[in-house]
Symmetry: none
Subunit: 391 residues, 2 copies
């Protein structure tokens, strides 16, 4: 592990160097990663200049103007007389798919092998994005529903109130060992696993950026609470968060507040100006201890043999399961004996239950003054000794 796991101020984690994918052609003129800054320009061109495998987390809020003008307009600018012409629809969807494919491929190149990607969208575009992700080899982890507490009603009464948007969370590849701060999320959620549906208000009021005329600075500014949950779930302090459609910089503001680095790409100078002003006003959470995700510290491995060696259990001692239905005898070498079969605490535990696997530490119990206690208690004794010895 890199040292960045130990503090918010540390340098960003570098790629492990192991490339699990086939080698990637890297553009000749890549620049060093411009940490905590906004790159002005076209998303894909800018991505192609970033170093490969340098990003820990990607958050993307791509445009979904499937049939409008702008960057997705047909190349020849020709007029289409029938707007609902099937062929035109196909052209439009195909153009959007090509655009999606291009930016996702460019993003994937700069992701570390264990990086993950979040994309947000609505039913207009999210299906195409999701299918493209699968086609490119991303590994879908969850689709997450942002339930809006205060959605805009459906004024014409012709459909259900469009009260949610969808986020897709995907790893770069199936083999990725991605960051997921399970324990921390659970601790903040009444000690229950966090579900795939999140209830969060729209970005309104003081959080909503306004221009000099009092109009909203960006049409689809996302709430910081949404980004906070994304970053707290799937990144660590010191990680680098890339947002290829930076807009007015919600992802950057939250990254900065939570001790993550950001890299933003944005084409519109107006949005960039708004984002820069916003970022300058962000106060990072100072105390690194508040940022590190609550985690069960990984305990040193203890062999059952050392429990016997240390005399916490004598050879010949009888272990039973909690309800006393199964018995086994401790041998000097730390294996268990059941009749004439010997094996590990796990193997014998699985055997007597007819199961493929078993955690022997919690399954087997010993008698301590009449009370049955799991042998895991004995492991805890050794761990404490070990911890004390290390200071």
């Amino acid at each position: 592990m890199s040292n960045s796991r130990t503090g918010a101020a540390a340098a960003p984690r570098m790629s492990s160097g192991t490339t699990r994918l086939r080698p990637v052609l890297r553009p000749v003129d890549t620049a060093p990663l411009p940490l905590d800054s906004i790159i002005e320009g076209d998303c894909i061109a800018a991505l192609d200049r970033l170093p490969a495998e340098s990003i820990d987390l990607v958050f993307a809020d791509p445009p979904y103007n499937l049939q409008l003008g702008g960057d997705l307009q047909r190349p020849d600018q020709s007029m289409v007389d029938a707007v609902d012409d099937d062929w035109d629809k196909f052209e439009s969807f195909a153009a959007y798919d090509a655009f999606t494919r291009d930016w996702l491929k460019a993003v994937r190149r700069v992701m570390k092998p264990d990086a993950t990607l979040w994309v947000i969208g609505s039913y207009h575009n999210i299906f195409r994005v999701g299918a493209t992700l699968q086609d490119l080899g991303f590994w879908l982890l969850n689709d997450v529903v942002w339930r809006k507490t205060n959605p805009m009603p459906n004024f014409r009464g012709k459909r259900f109130t469009n009260a949610h948007e969808t986020l897709i969370w995907a790893a770069r590849e199936q083999a990725s060992r991605y960051t997921f701060n399970y324990e921390a999320l659970k601790a903040g959620n009444e000690d229950v696993q966090v579900r795939s549906d999140w209830l969060i208000p729209l970005c309104t009021g003081g959080e909503r950026l306004k221009d000099e005329n009092g109009h909203k600075a960006h049409p689809t500014q996302k709430p910081e609470a949404l980004l906070a949950r994304v970053l707290l779930a799937a990144s660590r302090p010191g990680d680098v968060v890339l947002d290829p459609f930076f807009g007015t910089g919600t992802s950057g503001a939250v990254a900065r507040k939570l001790g993550r680095h950001f890299v933003g790409i944005e084409r519109d100078p107006g949005y960039i100006a708004a984002a820069r002003a916003r970022l300058a006003a962000v106060t990072p959470v100072a105390d690194a201890a508040l940022l590190m995700p609550a985690e069960k510290r990984s305990e040193p491995r203890i062999a059952f043999a050392s429990v016997v060696e240390r005399g916490l259990l004598a050879p010949g001692a009888v272990l039973v399961d909690q309800r006393g239905r199964h018995k086994a005898v401790v041998r000097v070498d730390g294996s268990l004996m059941l009749g004439d079969i010997a094996g590990s605490i796990h193997k014998i535990g699985a055997l007597v239950q007819g199961l493929p696997a078993c955690n022997g530490w919690t399954f087997w119990h010993f008698s301590d003054g009449g009370a049955l206690k799991p042998i895991d208690d004995l492991r805890a004794v050794l761990r404490k000794e070990l911890a004390d010895a290390e200071g």
Copy 2:
């Protein structure tokens, strides 16, 4: 309008005769619409034999293409009974796409011009289905989220609990003048528009069909409440509801109960037998207006993390008990920190008191202008927001 709109017993509505799409090649040997019966056989072959433009509503629960790997064990070492049926296995995404395209095209031919289609799926397949719908010229109306009250947990703690599935609601084409019972839905929802996220329990208990051995008759039986909401929203009494993946006939049972006709297509004789027995036991309700399933309600769970996310408490804020004997610090992720130990508000509250359990909401207080107030007051603020969202 046909007279079928006025009563449950009327004949099914016939096509208006105006074809808004380009002419469709109709198979020579189409049969008359086999109302209220199950067609045994391949989905696409059976669809090709149905008359064109004869269906008012389609509900489809296609294979999800789960792509499961090895076995999954629960923490108690028991096995998860996963979907491992042959009908859910596909060679590749391309094969699944081809399958999807074929059945959707066949379905579209038999839909009336104003008919709509519902498809349900998970993140494994729903993106591909949605994109294919768009490619074929369907017009997406909503994506609807079925939020499960009681989903299966994520046993390994590696992802968010997969707590929802997605339904796509689409018209045959953009010009469709589809059925949407807006006023009825609103009246049944405390006079507010029905949202795109529905909270409904899984199909369990007595509703779940079992075989003679007591095992579930179908691995993915859907709750009747879900189908009831679909049919009440987007069909009228007397309409014909087609289900190309009939399974054990939930859509048919609900259609029959609500005074709609059904046409089911199913390949597996075992499922068909179960469905026939089930359908025979259904009693149609005399007055369909009486049956509006109430949304599942439960006391909303508020996460302390969301109190921090919304800025009601800042990271680093100090919480104390009422008499100021214990202190703990709020972290960014909604856990509390006591020394170097992090945990939930409840766990840390229990820890400082040496008790096995503690209600952190009433135990911990924050300082509000000199006065100590329980953090439960902050929960009340969020609860009010949530109540507004749930209706």
